[in-house]
């Protein structure tokens, strides 16, 4: 119970901070819309490639953009932690009775709240431009759940890296290094049948792709729930592993204090 209360207290802290930055909120809300419209327009003619299955590209694109947005936002979750390290906030928290997991969860949960809000914006925008969600509310919920599991993993990882590297530049470098490759080594924008074989192979090991495929399957007219559950299971494992890694990172941090 204490762990939940501690996570909640830290979540409130991050939300208060965020609400005082109107520009940050504006970016959070507008960016996913731009992705959706931009990629929709840019790659729209992909549907004309022989072998592309299904109708309109925007229909295909929505799960990709939603998961990509979740993935991008989560990667930066460790940035305020670096600031906290520099200001002595991390050291102060470490000498309170709060356990290590709530300290990480206190950053992961605010990120999840942001992720859900962004997802709702994307879904609303998609509906506005005429995308049909055949999987209905359940399908959308599963898509957001998959994106949330992915986001949990990468937000935890980002915080773990922040604790180990303690340097903004290093963290930014690591996040940039992962973001675009992992996004494009997935079925976010291109159907697997149209990809070079090696990319399709790499994609099957990519957590970003697990989330996209789970969400896309759940949104289809007649989902293969076993496949959805399998990928969500993998994502759970990924999220858990990252959370454990991040809590272990406090040891590395404290060894250098």
């Amino acid at each position: 119970m204490t762990a939940v209360a501690d996570t909640l207290a830290l979540t409130v802290r991050d939300l208060l901070r965020a609400l005082r930055q109107p520009w940050f909120i504006a970016v959070v809300l507008v960016q996913p819309v731009i992705w959706l419209l931009l990629f929709g327009a840019l790659f729209g003619s992909v549907t004309q490639i022989p072998g592309f299955e299904g109708g309109e590209y925007k229909q295909y694109l929505v799960p990709g953009v939603l998961v990509m947005t979740a993935f991008f936002s989560s990667g930066w979750s460790g940035m305020p932690t670096i600031d906290d390290i520099d200001r002595g906030v991390v050291d102060r928290l470490l000498v309170t009775p709060v356990k290590r997991m709530p300290l990480i969860a206190g950053r992961v949960v605010p990120n999840l709240i942001q992720l859900v809000v962004q997802s709702l914006v994307i879904v609303a925008m998609a509906l506005a431009i005429g995308v049909r969600f055949e999987g209905g509310v359940v399908g959308v919920a599963v898509l957001v759940l998959a994106a949330g599991l992915l986001g949990t993993g990468f937000a935890a990882l980002s915080n773990g890296l922040a604790l180990i590297t303690r340097q903004e530049e290093t963290l930014i470098g690591a996040v940039m290094f992962l973001q675009l490759p992992l996004t494009f080594l997935s079925t976010a924008f291109m159907q697997p049948a149209l990809m070079p074989g090696w990319i399709a192979t790499v994609a099957t090991y990519n957590p970003v792709d697990w989330a996209i495929r789970a969400g896309r399957e759940a949104l289809s007219a007649s989902p293969d729930w076993a496949a959805v559950a399998g990928r969500c299971g993998l994502l759970c494992g990924f999220a858990l592993a990252c959370l454990l890694l991040a809590t272990r990172a406090f040891r590395a941090y404290q060894a250098q204090v």
Binding site: D6, A9, R20, R87, R92, V95, T96, P97, Q254
Partner: protein, 323 residues
Amino acid sequence: MIEAHGLTKRYGDVQALDGLSFDVAPGTIFGLLGPNGAGKSTAVKVLTTLARPDGGDARVAGFDVRTEAARVRRAIGVVAQRSGVDVELTGRENVILQGRLQGMRGNDLARRADALLAQLGLGDSARRIARGYSGGMQRRLDIAMGLVHRPKALFLDEPTTGLDPEVRAAMWTEISRLTEQEGLTILLTTHYLEEADKLASALAIVDRGRVVARGAPDELKAALEGDALHVELGDAAVNGAIVSALASVGGLREIHVDGRSLRARADDGARTVPAVLAALDSHSIGVASVTVARPSLDDVYLRFAGRSFAAAEAATPPKEPVR
């Protein structure tokens, strides 16, 4: 309340703690006095469970800092050298968050937070974002956060470093008042001799990770018999020349020369001055100024660490910001 026994800790090739031992009696302010780099902050990090010692052991409020860290954390308040205030939150939000994390809830927490903020003179600015606080205000907010859960022991690591002299004096009054009110045990680290003299009822002088002297400030000063003689020389002189020049002066002991600064101890300061001046003059050593004073903690430090406080401070490479 706080017991350290033979603590050792090494960072790379720096031996930060080298068998540090001391005891702090409940309800007292205990000062760890030493120059920058003496190991005071490392001692605080170990005693507050932030860092693990390489060797030795320590108990705080009856709990082992290694094996019962969670219990230690509940019993202590910490005001670290680096602030730890979240500058994006208001002062009150900072205190409330800290209280929540210490397991406090509801009305008890709200009342305690408001009372502390008012007591520390932050009542009017409690609902302002802490980024706009002055250095002294942030420090007082740090203290409010350290005290919110009514700890048994409070650690103050260099609480007045970087503050203006007037603000520093106000903080001293604040700290003494709080100890009385809350019946706290305080471990204070400082490199201001005056601060230790003013606040601490007992202190340990730390040099190179070890305690070199301990006792009440007055006891330590009384242990040094005679007056402190401080001569500012016209030019830096050769140590040997000065010692031989002063050999003939009676009642003069513990002669230390550091650049242009000459320190010694005299049974009767006022009487010895003319003899010292005459002896230096006869060896053509110019004198810029002479002062005679009752022993200070600086003299105590010189006696036990074998170097003056200022010299020890200068010998320490500037501390790199911890990142």
